[in-house]
């Protein structure tokens, strides 16, 4: 569960100070599927970095599963990321010359999970992310964009995190493969009750979530249930490999 109260973030660049977040408060409950939407420069990426424990807010409090993570050290934040958070990035960020398996098990190396259990967890995560078994031992640079993003989703899932942050997950994909990825998130939310926070600048993508938080100039301008929820339409047979 995420509880934010009055979060601000100010960047100092010499003498000039830039207020990127100007006081943001909201709560995301377990099992929610939320989209944070806003144009570029609105502060949504900065907000995601703070929510994802990659950065600390200048002021305000941020409780993740009841623990205040707004004033932790770098190493404590690393622990929070390791145990509670999964990331999916726009540019996948896979180790290109490593196999799918190695990419997915990577987070488990840092949490020191025994080797056999690692494989088991990775297989579960890959199944949940919807990557067919034939690809599990491929090198990740032999995969298509959509497959790569599903490997990245599996990697985010493998530690069984409280929340998955997806930063423009469809940004590098064509609309059809984008649909597949959005469908994957939808299934993870519906069938496995994962909390998903989708960060996007596209209203169309945001409308796949149950709730949309609209950010502009560092402030929430709208936070409401998505009445016109879209369901991803699939064209499995046309997927390019």
């Amino acid at each position: 569960m995420i509880e934010c109260k009055n979060i601000t973030k100010t960047y100092k660049n010499g003498e000039t100070e830039t207020d990127v977040l100007k006081g943001i408060s909201f709560t995301i409950n377990d099992g929610e599927y939320v989209a944070i939407m806003g144009p570029s420069g609105s502060g949504k990426s900065t907000l995601m970095h703070i929510l994802g424990a990659l950065d600390s807010p200048t002021s305000g409090t941020y409780f993740l599963d009841g623990r205040d993570v707004s004033k932790l050290s770098d190493d404590e934040l690393a622990d929070v990321r390791k145990n509670k958070i999964g990331f999916v990035f726009q540019s996948f960020n896979l180790l290109s010359r490593a196999t799918v398996m190695r990419n997915v098990t990577l987070p488990l190396l840092y949490s020191e999970v025994p080797k056999q259990k690692r494989e088991m967890l990775a297989k579960d995560a890959l199944t949940s992310a919807g990557l067919e078994e034939g690809r599990w031992n491929h090198l990740s640079n032999q995969l298509s964009g959509g497959q790569m993003q599903r490997v990245a989703i599996a990697r985010a899932l493998v530690n069984n995190p409280s929340i998955i942050f997806a930063d423009e997950p469809t940004g590098n994909l064509d609309s059809k493969t984008g649909e597949i990825v959005l469908d994957t998130f939808q299934k993870l939310n519906e069938h496995h009750a994962h909390t998903i926070v989708l960060i996007t600048h596209e209203r169309y993508v945001a409308e796949h979530a149950d709730r949309i938080i609209h950010i502009q100039d560092g402030l929430i301008i709208e936070d409401k249930e998505n009445s016109a929820k879209r369901v991803a339409t699939l064209h499995h047979t046309h997927e390019t490999t």
């Binding site: 990321r81 990331f87 840092y110």
Partner: protein, 407 residues
């Protein structure tokens, strides 16, 4: 991260760019290899010089005329040429130094030695029957000079194998033949065993004659060139040295030990001096080779810095999925240590092979010691740590957000 995981991660990172890894490692291989080879040459020289010194006798003390240089000492007292030691000095040492196992006075000078139609210029040593005991000389055929020969001024000679080869031809039997030294005929009664070594001062190119005969027919006086004393064991050497000094000072009527007209050289001192010379030689060779090791280390640092830049996004990702600073720096440090460790291993084998080549084809004695191998390993691991530390720290300090955005 657990150690086996760390090693497998390191292995896969290093094998991503095999050519670059190989070339970087080559720097360390050449560095360590040349250190091993160079030091083996130095240590080989050291051990061969030491064994040569040992071959002239064990627990040996040599008294030579002339003073060790000190304040107010004149050039005329030059060591080895001054004639201050006499037969009587040697007799006194034999009588009074009870710790001495054997004492052999000798008179030696180079002469032209002729046999039927052949001649050679060699060292002629007039000495006594105890000489073989003192100086580790063994007789190959015939006999050495006996006390009887010395007493009766016999004109007999024992020759070294090189002298025999020069005068009578290789592996001939010269016993019973006659050689002429300084217009005096000597009958050959024995040949000594080859000790090895060549050139000036070889123990194999010598002619031994009775001391008394040499004094009477060759030198014409009763002075001796040196007195060699074999001690019972290494522990009694300094006591004997002191005793001899006291006896000779008294006999020569010298009150001030710094003005002594003789010097007593301890074999251990000779070994120590020679070792210090070859030690410097070894250090010099090792230092020259060490420069290439340093260059190899800089190569490692260069590669690691390039790698850190290239893998910025990977570092960002690793941090995003929970890697701490320590995890990142350990990983990069492990990569550079694995590079230098493998390079060191190959370098040791390479250096060993090179040392073998040198001793096989250039006839230079080489010794690869465990110490130099351990040292080379230690140094290469240390290079991995030293030159890998800065790149690893740079990787660990990267901000995950910026690293993930890095293009």
């Amino acid at each position: 991260m657990k150690l086996p995981d760390l090693l497998s991660e390191t292995y896969s990172s290093l094998t991503v760019n095999k050519v670059r890894t190989g070339l970087t490692m080559l720097g360390i291989v050449i560095g360590i290899g040349s250190v091993i080879a160079m030091v083996s040459i130095g240590q080989g020289a050291q051990s061969s010089i030491e064994s040569k010194i040992q071959s002239i006798g064990s627990n040996l003390l040599i008294v030579t005329p002339g003073a060790q240089r000190g304040p107010g000492v004149q050039i005329s007292e030059g060591r080895g040429t001054a004639q201050t030691l006499t037969q009587e000095d040697a007799d006194a040492i034999i009588k009074e130094v009870d710790l001495a196992k054997a004492v052999a006075p000798e008179i030696s000078r180079r002469y032209q030695v002729t046999a039927k139609g052949t001649n050679t210029n060699t060292q002629v040593v007039g000495t006594v029957a105890s000489y073989p005991t003192v100086r580790n000389v063994e007789v190959d055929s015939g006999t050495f000079i006996s006390d009887q020969n010395v007493k009766s001024l016999s004109r007999v000679a024992v020759i070294g194998p090189t002298t025999r080869d020069d005068l009578f031809g290789t592996d001939s039997d010269p016993i019973g033949q006659t050689i002429r030294i300084n217009k005096v005929d000597f009958k050959i009664i024995g040949v000594t065993k080859a000790k090895g070594g060549s050139g000036f001062g070889s123990q194999d190119d010598m002619v031994f004659v009775p001391l008394s005969t040499a004094q009477r027919y060759l030198a014409g006086d009763t002075y001796v060139t040196s007195i060699s004393i074999a001690a019972e064991d290494a522990n009694s050497m300094s006591a004997i040295q002191q005793q001899i000094t006291d006896i000779l000072l008294e006999r020569h009527n010298i009150k001030d030990p710094t003005k002594a007209d003789f010097s007593v050289i301890n074999q251990a001192d000779i070994v120590a001096t020679a070792s210090s010379v070859t030690g410097i030689f070894t250090i010099l060779l090792g230092a020259i080779a060490g420069i290439s090791l340093l260059v190899g280390g800089i190569g490692i640092m260069n590669m690691m810095l390039t790698t850190v830049t290239e893998r910025t996004r990977e570092i960002g990702l690793r941090k995003a999925i929970g890697a701490k600073k320590k995890d990142i720096s350990t990983q990069f440090l492990a990569e550079s240590i694995m590079l230098t460790f493998l390079g060191g291993l190959i370098g040791v084998l390479f250096g060993w092979f090179f040392a073998w080549l040198i001793s096989t084809f250039a006839s230079i004695t080489t010794t690869v010691s465990t110490t130099s191998v351990m040292l080379a390993f230690g140094v290469s691991a240390a290079i991995g740590i030293i030159f890998g530390y800065y790149p690893a720290r740079r990787a660990a300090k990267l901000n995950p957000i910026e690293a993930l955005r890095y293009e």
